[in-house]
């Protein structure tokens, strides 16, 4: 990628800043390929399988595969059936029944509602190791041009037994934030009056949680020790509001097999890297799932049996130098909504009642409102305090 960036630099140099433009090729959609995302974790951490189908570019979301029969078998003859777990197309294990044992091999079998049978290759359960250290440093890039300062989260891991070798990480980040113009009530179109919230239910402070969407991989295969030191996991810019009050990140660390590593590496290559002059030729990433009766059918996805470890840290505003951090609501302003008119319509995106507008004598002459996202934190997050929140 470094070379890729270099070549881009050169073409910026020669091409006078006009190297890259959006492009929409004409493609005949294929779609409808089964996509399997399956994982069984070490110990009681459970198993989860997501089934969906690929979809055309014109569509926005995949069709999930519901009512499939999903089983995990191990090499000593145990069989465990996963059950649909709330979310469509997601199948979960009963953690009291299924336990991932290091050294055993597991296989995923799927029967779709259409009756097609699929099987994964056998996957050997890897031993998990703990996250050695998770910490964040304030970093100020010294180039002076890109003004992105912020907190860089680093992870370190160490396997003294020198067996893990291949790592994959995911993270979940959560931060608390407040809206500048909290709505004290909600407009009731029947009474043509606002219904006021109870004081403790005003949607002013929320938590927002985001899951990582990139693939993070690490390998110590070329190192003399099975040690990952200061792997950059996430950079939180001071231009985001994540750090304004308090922020937390949970990093899940999976010990994965070489095959799983190679699969994710290929997937990352074909879906996350920039197409520069030096990139490998992309292609179909072959997974380890096959149609039992039709080996020619293309199936996307992977099933793995991974060791597991995790760690969480918090970053408070006090951990940062005294720098301004934007609220993200700079554009929010209160505006007058006309008396006795329906809320909304006067403010682009719909207005939300914030407070009454009174004349100097205390008479109600109208309402003050603002855009929904400025008034109700539930627009982005949830008012429910996460269990782990300190």
């Amino acid at each position: 990628m470094r070379v890729g960036a270099a070549i881009l630099s050169i073409c910026v140099l020669f091409g006078h800043w006009s190297c890259i433009e959006p492009f929409d090729p004409e493609i005949e959609g294929e779609g409808e390929t089964l996509v399997v995302e399956g994982q069984i974790l070490e110990g009681k951490a459970g198993a989860e399988v997501r089934l969906s189908r690929s979809f055309a570019f014109s569509e926005t979301a995949p069709m999930m595969v519901e009512d499939a029969r999903v089983r995990i078998t191990d090499d000593v003859g145990n069989e465990h059936e996963l059950i649909s777990g709330g979310e469509a197309g997601v199948y979960l294990s009963d953690t009291s029944q299924l336990e991932g044992v290091v050294g055993r091999s597991y296989q995923l079998s799927i029967v779709t509602p259409e009756g097609e049978q699929y099987e994964s290759e056998w996957a050997l359960m890897k031993k998990g190791i703990a996250v050695d250290e998770l910490h964040a440093d304030f970093e100020e890039p010294n180039n002076g041009i890109d003004s992105a300062r912020g907190m860089q989260v680093y992870l370190s891991a160490f396997d003294p037994e020198n067996e893990t070798k291949f790592y994959r990480w995911e993270y979940e980040e959560t931060w608390i934030f407040a809206v500048p113009l909290p709505a004290v009530g909600v407009w009731n179109s029947q009474t043509r009056m606002p219904d006021l919230y109870p004081p403790d239910e005003i949607p002013r402070i929320c938590w927002q949680t985001v899951h990582s969407s990139q693939i993070f991989l690490g390998s110590t295969i070329g190192l003399s020790e099975d040690r990952m030191t200061n792997v950059p996991i996430r950079f939180i810019s001071d231009q985001d509001n994540h750090l304004r009050i308090k922020y937390s990140i949970l990093v899940k660390q999976y010990s994965i097999s070489e095959e799983t590593y190679v699969f994710y590496q290929q997937l990352k290559h074909t879906t996350e890297t920039l197409g520069t002059l030096f990139d490998p030729i992309p292609g179909e990433v072959r997974g380890n799932i096959r149609n039992v009766n039709n080996s020619g059918e293309s199936v996307l996805g992977w099933f793995s049996a991974d060791g597991f470890g995790q760690d969480r840290i918090f970053i408070s505003r006090s951990d940062l130098p005294n720098i301004p951090i934007p609220s993200g609501y700079a554009a929010c302003a209160a505006d007058t909504l006309a008396n006795s008119l329906e809320m909304g319509g006067y403010i682009i995106g719909g207005g939300v009642y914030v407070e009454d507008l009174l004349d100097p004598f205390g008479n109600l002459i109208g309402y003050i409102g603002s855009r929904p996202y400025c008034t109700d934190c539930r627009f982005f997050g949830t008012t429910e305090r996460p269990e782990f929140w300190e």
């Binding site: 960036a5 073409c11 959006p22 189908r53 690929s54 570019f57 969407s213 200061n230 197409g275």
Partner: protein, 943 residues
């Protein structure tokens, strides 16, 4: 002898004295011989000359009895008068002499020989015309030598040339009367610099016999004794003819003048009917003059980019220095500079080529019919010849462009015998990068330089030696972090020895080296240094034997030792945890012997047959991974390894390679050619990217990676028009490549100790037709070419990971069916010329994403079959204006300016298309390397 003839000889002598007083337009010479368009073949000679006398200002002087029964021999139509006369008189005792006034004197029993002293022909001094003519004499039996005086008046130079050409030279000594043939040998040189002219052609049109000079400008031609007209042609030089009277073995050195109107024209190939004459097909030649006229990118004249405008030569995109010949991959081209191979032909990731235009003379690109003396690469041979230093005087030249400054110095070591040339080129250190408003770029560095040197020595009349060296260096640092460096270094010593007029040998010792180093030090824990290197040492001998004029036998042997360091990674910091990794070194010996004969069967048929046998030995010390045969070849299935000791043969490969070409003349202006060749390639480039990248490495064939074998059959039809000034050709070919290297999806090629697990052997098939129209002379000159070609790859291995696209053939990366080029030059005056290039080609194949799927919280892409789609078509128009300084001879420095606009239309030609998963969905992007017109002003000088 009759009285009338005698009388007229007297007047001839008289007119000789006053000849030069006449206005030049009345002068006639061999060169300007009248072209007879009507066919007189078989008609009485008497009528023929009477008609000529009416039509042209010609007078014939003869005795009636000599020509009473004579009929005209005119084998071509049109045919120059001089040739008709020679042909008509061939079986008689008649000869003729033509003077400047258009008088033609026919003699019997003896030719009129007006000779100046034979070799060396004195170019430095030439006879003052009047003096020369006064001393000129005519004696029937013996022609006393004309002693040239040492003064020269420039204004009369052209006249002097004509005189030289009119003069019949006697070659050899009348010794052995029993022999009917004599051999002429000699050197063809550039008159201005004394530099030998490579591949100049020497021919006797009448006999349809011709030879070309070797890399020393040397030729050998055996002819029947008697009078002949030798023609001499070379790139950018005035064509010259020389009448000779061959009486025995002798020497004839010729110096050719640069084309008088050279500044006016693009000389694409001045071997004007060589395309018709020779058996060689699929050969493209360009000389540096042509390349200099063409619009350039950033003012850098680029050998490789120039080749891309030739039919059958393509590249995967802009900013790649590699090129693809007839569907072959970039590593299938053998690139030689002065016999030594170059392993990375690009500077700065491919934006410029590594060849300094100031020291390059010309190149030959063989696309098919590759001669037996070449081996080792299956697609093409790009043979680049470096200039020899000036043998007459010390000359400096140079130039500046926005990217580089160049300086070349050349001169004699011993005047007229030995010379040197030294040329260097360097980019300005990071000047442009430092001016860019991006910190990342300002912290980056990019630079390159190269150096060429050559010495050529004339050790004796029979021995010549030249020594050349080449070095290039590249460095690129991105944002002060990762540094890429790569170097080419090579040298060759070539010794030519003449055994006799019919046998000579060129023996060479060649060494070449390519290495690169990538260093990273941003993070102490992961700081590393990666090095790669290949060494090449070769000894070879090429022998030419010309037993008869219609046979040219060449044979020779070569042996190459390869030594590779396939990659070594070391920690680059005391705290670095990088484990030192070194792949096993590789070594191999590639040997070849060959024998070929070019046989002129008759005036219509010419054959070339060659056989090369190559033998390749992969040598220890090396340990070879063993795999189970019944399982896919992946790292997990390694069962052990077998070590081999130093020098032991790990794996031999080899076999015969047939080279065959034939030319059938269909008339004097057209011919049909056929060629077949097989080549084997033992050295492969590991690259799963579409272009050459600095971390690409070369790999030797080993027990798992079999040699690639290429077979090509091609047929061509060639037709010239308007006195060979317009050449047209159609070439059709089919190719098959066995064991072509293909890479598995996402293959890891760098530092992979079991790289055989990421490579599959494919089958390549290509076919195509190339059309070319070329006009060499005139105010407007250039060429138009169109190529239709396809190339497919098929990978159908034993295991699922060895199958691509279900095992069906798919378009290879370089499959671009339609390709059109136009190169044109228009001269307004001697000082101003305008050039333009137009290039169009079908977009190259690409693997597109066809649908999306959700995996790991993100929408990702599902890709099509490999190379199922294409990027948009490519189109580019370049333009340049060349301004020469004035042409005064006495001037301190000759200067020229060149203004070129690359991509005039600013078309954003797509280099690649890629897709990124963004929060809003999947977005496609197109990357164009040169999205705007790029204007450059270049200044050149010569002192």
């Amino acid at each position: 002898m009759t009285r009338i003839a005698r009388m007229r000889y007297t007047s001839l002598l008289f007119f000789c004295f006053v000849g030069y007083l006449c206005p030049p337009y009345l002068l006639f010479s061999q060169n300007e011989s009248i072209l007879i368009r009507q066919s007189y073949h078989g008609r009485p000679f008497q009528i023929f000359i009477e008609q000529l006398e009416q039509k042209y200002p010609l007078r014939f002087y003869y005795a009636q009895t000599w020509i009473d029964s004579l009929t005209v021999v005119q084998v071509e139509n049109p045919m120059p008068l001089t040739k008709i006369l020679l042909a008509t008189f061939e079986s008689t005792e008649l000869s003729y002499y033509q003077d400047e006034l258009g008088r033609i004197f026919i003699t019997r029993d003896f030719p009129i020989v007006i000779a100046i002293e034979t070799s060396p022909p004195g170019p430095a001094g030439s006879p003052s015309a009047d003096q020369g003519r006064q001393q000129q004499s005519f004696v029937p039996d013996i022609a006393p030598p004309l002693v040239p005086s040492q003064t020269e008046s420039p204004g009369r130079k052209a006249a002097k040339e004509k005189q030289d050409q009119d003069v019949v030279k006697e070659i050899g000594e009348k010794s052995d009367e029993s022999r009917t043939r004599g051999t002429i040998v000699g050197y063809v040189k550039d008159e201005a610099t004394g530099e030998p002219l490579i591949a100049a052609s020497i021919f006797v049109a009448k006999l349809s016999v011709g030879v070309t000079t070797d890399q020393y400008g040397y030729y050998s031609l055996t002819l029947p004794k008697g009078p002949h007209t030798l023609g001499f042609r070379s790139y950018g030089k005035e064509e010259k003819t020389q009448d000779i009277l061959l009486v025995g073995d002798g020497v004839l050195d010729i110096e050719l003048e640069p084309t008088i109107i050279q500044l006016d024209e693009v000389v694409i190939e001045s071997e004007r009917d060589a395309n018709i004459e020779s058996t060689q097909m699929g050969l493209a030649k360009l000389d540096i003059q042509t390349m200099k006229q063409m619009p350039s990118f950033m003012g850098e004249i680029d050998v490789i980019k120039s080749t891309l405008l030739l039919p059958g030569v393509q590249s995967v995109g802009e900013g790649t220095s590699g090129f693809n010949v007839r569907g072959g991959s970039v590593d299938q081209n053998l690139i030689l500079i002065n016999q030594a191979p170059i392993f990375n032909s690009s500077h700065l990731f491919g934006f410029f080529s590594v060849f300094n235009p100031d020291v390059i003379k010309n190149f030959d690109l063989y696309k098919s019919g590759i001669p037996a003396k070449y081996g080792g690469r299956i697609s093409s041979v790009l043979d680049i010849a470096m200039k020899d230093g000036n043998k007459r005087e010390l000359v400096g030249s140079g130039g500046i462009s926005p990217v580089t400054a160049r300086l070349t110095l050349e001169g004699p070591i011993r005047k007229n015998r030995s010379s040197f040339i030294l040329g260097g080129r360097s980019s300005y250190s990071d000047w442009i990068l430092k001016r860019l408003p991006s910190a990342e770029l300002r912290n980056s560095k990019a630079g390159f330089s190269d150096l060429n040197g050559k010495i050529n020595l004339e050790l004796s009349d029979k021995d010549r030696l030249d020594v050349s060296v080449y070095a290039s260096r590249d460095q690129f640092v991105l944002n002060g972090d990762t540094t890429y460096r790569y170097h080419n270094l090579n040298g060759s010593v070539n010794w030519k020895h003449l055994f006799n007029n019919k046998l000579y040998a060129v023996s060479s010792a060649i060494a070449s080296q390519y290495r690169y180093r990538i260093e990273s030090s941003a993070q102490a824990e992961t700081a590393y240094r990666l090095t790669y290197g290949i060494r090449y040492q070769e000894l070879k001998s090429d022998i030419t034997y010309i037993p008869q004029p219609n046979h040219q036998i060449r044979f020779g042997a070569s042996s190459i030792l390869y030594q590779l360091n396939p990659g070594e990674r070391l920690p680059n910091h005391s705290e670095s945890l990088v484990m030192p990794t070194a792949l096993q070194e590789e070594q191999a010996l590639e040997s070849g012997i060959y024998l070929s004969d070019e046989w002129t069967v008759g005036p219509r048929l010419k054959l070339y047959g060659g056989l090369r046998y190559s033998l390749y030995l992969f040598l220890g010390p090396h340990s070879i991974n063993q795999y189970r045969d019944d399982l896919p070849r992946i790292a997990d299935n390694i069962t052990g390894s077998i070590p081999y000791e130093a020098g032991r043969i790990v794996k031999p490969y080899g076999g015969p390679e047939i080279r065959f070409s034939a030319r059938l003349a269909l008339g004097t202006r057209s011919s049909l050619k056929l060629s077949y060749n097989r080549l084997r390639q033992y050295l492969h480039m590991l690259s799963n990217t579409t272009s050459i990248s600095p971390s690409d490495s070369w790999k030797l064939s080993d027990p798992y990676i079999r040699p690639q074998i290429g077979d090509q059959l091609s047929v061509g039809f060639y037709q010239n028009f308007r006195q060979n000034s317009i050449e047209t050709s159609i070439e059709v070919y089919v190719k098959r490549i066995k064991d072509m290297l293909e890479f598995k999806n996402g293959a890891q090629l760098l530092l992979n100790p079991h790289v055989e697990t990421d490579i599959v052997n494919g089958l390549g098939r290509a076919y195509g037709a190339e059309f070319l129209i070329k006009k060499e002379r005139g105010k407007l000159n250039g060429w138009i070419s169109y190529t239709y070609s396809r190339v497919f790859s098929q990978v159908n291995g034993q295991f699922p990971d060895e199958i691509i696209n279900g095992g069906e053939p798919f378009p290879a990366n370089v499959d671009k069916p339609h390709d059109f080029s136009f190169v044109g030059n228009y001269k307004f005056s001697r000082r101003f010329s305008m050039s333009s290039n137009i290039a169009y080609s079908t977009g190259r194949p690409i693997t597109y994403p066809v649908s999306q799927f959700v995996f790991g919280n993100t929408t990702r892409l599902d890709y099509s079959l490999r190379n199922q789609y294409r990027i948009p078509d490519y189109f580019r128009w370049d333009f340049s204006l060349n301004i020469e300084g004035n042409h005064k001879i006495k001037k301190f420095a000759h200067t020229s300016w060149s203004l070129s606009v690359f991509n005039v239309l600013g078309r954003k030609n797509v280099y690649s298309i890629y897709f990124v998963s963004e929060p809003t969905g999947v977005q496609g992007y197109k990357l164009s390397v040169f999205g705007r017109p790029i204007m450059t002003l270049t200044f050149n000088f010569r002192i």
